[in-house]
Amino acid sequence: MGFWEVTLSLLEGLEQTCLIFALTLVLALPLGLVISFASMSKFKPLAYITKVFVWIIRGVPLMLQVIIVFYVPGFLLGTPLFSRFASVIAAFVINYACYFSEIYRGGIESISKGQYEAGQVLGMTKSQIFFKIVLKQVVKRILPPISNEVITLVKDTALARVIMIVEIIQAAQNYAAYGFMWPLFYTAVFYLIFVGILTLLFGYFEKKLDYFKA
């Protein structure tokens, strides 16, 4: 079992890992904003329903959600609705959007009323106040908790193997079946590099926003 052969097949697994990671992030970050607005809505039934939804999504293990999205439509309709990969993305996006929505809500609600009022007396519209004044302050405040979630996501991608997606851990486990354990331990190196890059990236963003206090 050559080192390079293992490395190559782990890299193939890593490709799936990266795809799940990137697609989840790109879709869940904006969806989370929509959910956070719904949970802060003045229309109480919407806020209430959203809160219950977030409770369910955050309350059920992500692994179980992946299984549900993939198998349940099949049981009900007789034929699976989503491919394995699409099921993983759907479950991950909804799950992460709910976590992000709570981070957004915390950030948005932490901005002082005075910032909104200053915008109002200067004749700004609600959307100008949000996008030109509030948003950047929110981004600065939520970067640390967002980076936490993003790093967790890197490792959560391993849950995709529960429906036979061959991401990096599954790729390594295929060797374990033949009695080779070391590829499994070797995956840690890939995760560490991945998370290391993200840590540097978020550090850079935080530094970028260091020029003001909010």
């Binding site: 005075g114 109002q120 200067l122 700004m124």
Partner: protein, 262 residues
């Protein structure tokens, strides 16, 4: 004709009646101080004038034109509210500068956003932007902070921040500039520079309403003083009338407490 005419403004929050019928008027170029103890309704009155609260009853007129009538404005459209607000500027107790923008950007942000909403040719737009920038630099000179143009609010002292907030409010050329306890959040040694700017504005004929706890300042700068207590105007008149010969016992006791020296 008075520049500002306020008639029968009332405002309740739940069952608490904060304003119980406020009437006053203000001439162009005059300075009105509103004094009174905490909870007397002075800040709420100021917030009503800036439409941060909508009065339950009453009217507000500028130059004889009614801009707010509680009867007709039960539900105000956002656009309408915005243009009503532009008659008034407001300087907050806690400055509320935008932390991510530097001083000059804080002053020009609102005028530039308004400009974006107008349909203008590129050349017209450029001319207007130049105008906005020029005006901002002139204001900066007025508050004596030209050298801080590129500084961020967190790099300024409280007094400097409040001066920038004044310039920011002036950048939209409001008819009336309101101050909500502009020096209450400042260290004592910093109040002077802010009060000086307000005095200079008076000298340049700016119409102002100042809610303040600085009795000496109110006495010196005002043309008109209102003493509020329990949501009504308890006493109103020239500074001499109110400070030197107060008629109402409430005014007398408030002033003797406020001016008490140790």
């Amino acid at each position: 004709m008075a520049l500002l005419e306020v008639k029968n403004i009332t405002k309740s929050f739940g069952k608490t009646e904060v304003l119980k019928g406020i009437d006053f008027s203000l001439e162009q170029g005059k300075v009105l101080s509103i004094i009174g103890s905490s909870g007397s309704g002075k800040t709420t009155l100021l917030r009503c004038l800036n439409f941060l609260e909508s009065p339950d009853t009453g009217t507000i007129s500028i130059n004889g034109k009614t801009i707010y009538n509680a009867e007709q404005h039960k539900k105000i459209k956002d656009d309408e509210l915005r243009s009503m607000r532009l008659h008034f500027g407001l300087v907050f107790q806690s400055f509320n500068l935008f932390p991510q923008y530097n001083v000059i950007e804080n002053i020009t942000l609102a005028p530039k956003l308004r400009l974006e909403e107008e349909k203008l040719s590129a050349a017209q737009k450029k001319a207007r932007i130049d105008e906005i920038n020029e005006n901002a630099w002139a204001l900066l000179k007025k508050i004596d902070l030209t050298e801080k143009a590129k500084s961020y609010p967190c790099e300024l002292s409280g007094g400097q921040q409040q001066r920038v907030a004044i310039a920011r409010a002036l950048a939209l050329s409001p008819d009336i500039l309101c101050f909500d306890e502009p020096t209450s959040a400042l260290d004592p040694e910093l109040t002077g520079e802010v009060l000086r700017v307000i005095r200079e504005l008076k000298d340049s004929n700016c119409t102002m309403i100042v809610v303040t706890h600085e009795m000496e300042f109110a006495k010196n700068i005002s043309d008109e003083v209102i003493f509020m207590a329990n949501g009504v105007i308890e006493e109103q008149g020239t500074p001499e009338d109110v400070f030197d010969n107060p008629k109402s016992p409430l005014t007398q006791s408030f002033l003797s407490k406020s001016l008490e020296s140790f």
